[in-house]
């Protein structure tokens, strides 16, 4: 046995590295004792037979509601220290754990049951696939996160699990030295946290199907290139495919800054904010019939916005974005395509160039540049033509220079640019949720 896949881990500023920190509702008796700063029960006289998963204690006090909670063995003669999950409470002095507590007989076991831990770093090695670590709002420093187990999930919260904090209500994870969040495997997700790194990356993801959601990525390195999220998920039809939702990037360096550096070329970037970067999104290595969606982002004050460093192999959809005051190219496809470039329903305001394509052949890539608003760009399009429905009118943002991209009531972009199908085929104004 091992820690159950449905276990939820609790990380909180007031927790302790000695606490059990985890819980799964394994039985009808189970009560979660991890969502508290202090342990629920502490024994110092744990005993187990050689190779046995049965733990006895004279001190005891075990009750059936402990089933599913995790106990941490921090010391004891003959004990293998670590995290153990309580499967069954036999009686007030006897527990059956998920696995053997030690090869030989053990005594004087010093064990904390329940309570949250105080650092996500302490539980990484014990988490198993499908586990969720809930991280309560607060500041965590000295973090290291090199994730080598697939399908692990990390969620920030403010007051209660699932409350989806924003801004500085999200827990902040400050990485030690030049460390960064390194997910080496697939199916990693992290959401609702602030990542503060000092190395080259905020997050590096080498696995497939990872998700970063509602995170603030901040990297403070003084020199050298910085990558907010660096994706290098290998090859093959099923490689990559990561999703980045609602993230913002604050990257400081004297050199180049990349918000999302997508070596797989097929990550979806949705609802993010990129401000003042060298390249907001850089995609390359787009082979294996890959495609990408870039939707609903604000890309402002960057040198280049979205850059395709190599061919678009299948399609690249750029939709519902705002490109403002980017000093070079808002969208730049720098290589020959066999695939399609679809640029739909975006606003391009005050950029040097809206869309630039550097194709040697063919010059007429299968593309759609439609339903966009182009205004006050030095050049709207280079080597790519517009389709029927684009407009050239001031979108009337409230205060774009001040970072407020809400539309004024008389904006021409409020209606008509984002049609939706209906049985009559008429344009419909879609109210955002």
């Amino acid at each position: 046995m091992s820690i159950h896949y449905s276990t939820n881990w609790e990380v909180r500023p007031g927790g302790s590295a000695n606490n059990g920190g985890g819980f799964a509702a394994l039985t009808a008796n189970s009560v979660d004792h991890s969502q508290q700063d202090n342990e629920q029960l502490h024994i110092t006289d744990g005993v187990h037979a050689a190779g046995s998963a049965t733990l006895t204690s004279v001190i005891g006090g075990f009750t059936s509601d402990l089933e599913g909670n995790v106990g941490k063995v921090v010391s004891g003669t003959g004990f293998t220290t670590g995290y153990y999950q309580i499967l069954t409470v036999v009686d007030s002095n006897t527990l059956i754990m998920d696995r053997s507590l030690g090869a030989g007989a053990g005594s004087n076991g010093n064990i904390y049951i329940g309570g949250g831990t105080n650092s996500v770093s302490t539980i990484l090695s014990v988490m198993v696939g499908r586990n969720i670590a809930w991280i309560k709002s607060g500041s965590y420093t000295g973090i290291t996160m090199s994730i080598t187990t697939g399908n692990l999930h990390f969620r920030g919260y403010k007051t209660t699990h699932g409350d989806v904090p924003t801004g500085n209500d999200r827990p902040s994870l400050t990485f030690s030295s030049t460390n960064y969040l390194y997910a080496q495997v697939s199916l990693f997700t992290i959401s609702h946290v602030i990542i503060i790194g000092a190395g080259s990356y905020g997050i590096r993801m080498d696995g497939t199907g990872c998700v970063v959601c509602n995170c603030s990525i901040r990297v403070t390195r003084a020199s050298g290139n910085i990558y907010g999220i660096y994706i290098n998920a290998g090859s093959g039809t099923s490689g990559g495919g990561d999703s980045i939702f609602n993230c913002d990037f604050t990257l400081s360096t004297a050199d180049n800054t990349y918000g999302v550096y997508d070596l797989n070329g097929n990550a979806d970037v949705i609802g993010c904010v990129f401000d003042g970067l060298t390249r907001a999104i850089y995609r390359t290595y787009a082979t294996y019939n890959r495609s990408s969606n870039t939707i609903g982002n604000i890309i402002a004050n960057c040198t280049n916005g979205i850059v395709f460093g190599s061919a678009i192999a299948n399609y690249a959809l750029i939709k519902d974005n705002v490109f403002y005051n980017n000093s070079n190219y808002a969208v730049w496809s720098a290589s020959n395509p066999p695939g399609s470039l679809w640029v739909l329903n975006n606003i391009f305001l005050s950029n040097e160039v809206g869309i630039r394509c550097d194709y040697s052949s063919p010059t007429n890539v299968p593309h759609q540049v439609d339903y966009n608003c182009f205004y006050d760009n030095d050049t709207d399009c280079v080597n790519i033509s517009k389709d029927d429905y684009n407009i050239t009118l001031d979108p009337k943002f409230t205060d774009p220079a001040g970072g407020d991209f809400s539309l004024q009531s008389d904006s021409p972009c409020l209606k008509g640019l984002r049609p939706i199908g209906f049985y009559t085929g008429e344009f419909m104004d879609v109210q955002s949720q």
């Binding site: 989806v164 495919g241 999703s243 609602n246 495609s291 052949s361 970072g403």
Partner: protein, 420 residues
């Protein structure tokens, strides 16, 4: 020579299948296709063997016909076909792009210059990459079969109402009225805009780079059945007539391992389908801003033919599902996400399942609103902000208007863009 990539064709109800129907604006001539009748005809055409010069004893050929097509429909030793007029030396003579009489002297040829066709199926076999066909509002009964365009030169078929480019909607769009149960077929690199269909459009196995915009499919079989990659379906309507079977859109229905379906379905409306949108395995498909009304399964990845092959990386965003038994069935999917959707009245919302090896799926919910849904999430992981037991989303008029009332609980609750 051959017919030019720059040719623009005209199809209109009052046209004639014998008319020239095509014009190349690069030649500087006058476009005589945007009219019902031909501008010139003769039944006394002659041509020497292998020559590209055609003469007519009766003369009267207008001086500005270069760029127009002449359609030769019959004649001794003439090859009936469309020919592009390159020059008009005099009123009796034209030169064309290739010889209409390749093997023997031709005589008594019958030909027409100018005027629109009345039938796309008469033209389709002659189209080449880069051509465009304008279809005037009206009804057309025949099935068409478009050839492939190319990566640099797509073939476009676009409907119009009164004048080209007027972007008709509703019943002002031309109608392909055939309801025989067969399909229109399309090639790679093709574009369809502002057209109504009463039978489906299929690209069979591996066709790719197909764009459909502002079209309407009210059919008794399928809507669109597309084989391959880079499919963009935008602001179109798919309504099933009769029993609730088949798919409004089926992408990648064949050999998914070799033609992984990729594409985006945006701003579309689906009603009364067994599967509103069904995509085969190994897909990466974006479904955004769509409405699925009264379907058994609004979206299904992978399709029923490929349940054993996983689908990947797909997203269903900003969609409304109303009265669907299942909103999104994702039987064997990795890494797919439903976000910012409203699911109103369903048995299942996001329906996941274990794969064939028994591993759990990896599908996520983020910022969705479920109202009156028996099982909102089945084997799916909530990334946050999912309202499993939400209140009435308050569509304005529910069955016919899916905008939200100003008191809707769904307004300003989904994920959006951040602020600087």
């Amino acid at each position: 020579m051959a017919l030019s990539a720059g040719l623009i064709y005209e199809v209109r109800p009052g046209g004639n299948a014998n008319n020239g129907a095509g014009f190349n604006p690069a030649t500087g001539g006058t476009d005589y296709t945007q009219q019902d009748n031909h501008i010139w005809t003769a039944n006394n055409l002659s041509c020497s063997t292998g020559s590209t010069t055609i003469t007519s004893a009766s003369g009267g050929i207008p001086s500005d016909v270069p760029g127009n097509l002449i359609k030769i429909i019959s004649g001794t030793n003439f090859t009936a076909n469309y020919y592009e007029i390159l020059t008009r030396p005099d009123e009796y003579t034209i030169t064309v792009d290739r010889s209409p009489c390749p093997s023997a002297d031709g005589s008594s040829g019958v030909g027409y210059i100018g005027g629109a066709s009345n039938d796309l199926s008469v033209i389709d076999g002659h189209l080449v990459a880069g051509n465009k066909v304008w279809i005037k509002s009206g009804s057309y009964a025949e099935l068409f079969d478009l050839p492939d365009g190319t990566v640099g030169s797509m073939i476009t078929v676009e409907g119009y109402w009164e004048s080209r480019g007027d972007h008709p909607i509703s019943d002002n769009r031309p109608l392909f009225s055939n309801i025989t149960g067969s399909y229109h077929t399309t090639g790679d690199y093709t574009v369809y805009k502002h057209i109504r269909f009463r039978t489906g459009l299929t690209s069979y196995t591996s066709k790719h780079n197909i764009i459909v915009k502002f079209c309407e499919f009210i059919t008794s079989d399928i809507g669109i059945q597309s084989g391959g990659a880079s499919i963009l379906i935008y602001c179109s309507t798919f309504i099933k007539i009769g029993s609730k079977v088949n798919s409004g859109v089926a992408i990648g229905h064949s050999s998914p391992a070799f033609t992984p379906p990729r594409g985006a379905v945006i701003g579309c409306y689906f009603e009364n389908w067994a599967y509103g949108l069904q995509v085969s395995a190994i897909n990466q498909v974006l479904v955004q801003d769509c409405i699925f009304n009264n379907c058994t399964q609004g979206v299904r990845f992978p399709n029923t033919l490929y349940d054993e092959i996983p689908s990947y990386f797909s997203k269903v965003m900003n969609c409304t599902f109303l009265n669907c038994t299942y909103a999104w069935v994702s039987t064997f999917s990795y890494y797919s996400i439903m976000s910012n959707c409203i699911i109103d009245t369903a048995t299942y919302g996001l329906y996941g399942d274990s794969d064939v090896s028994g591993d759990p799926p990896y599908i996520y919910s983020y910022s969705n609103h479920f109202y009156s849904v028996t099982t909102p999430l089945r084997i799916a992981l909530d990334l946050g902000n999912t309202e499993l037991s939400g209140s009435d989303p308050k569509f304005l008029y529910n069955s016919t208007d899916y905008r939200l009332d100003e008191t809707s609980p769904c307004l300003s609750t989904g994920h959006g863009t951040g602020v600087l």
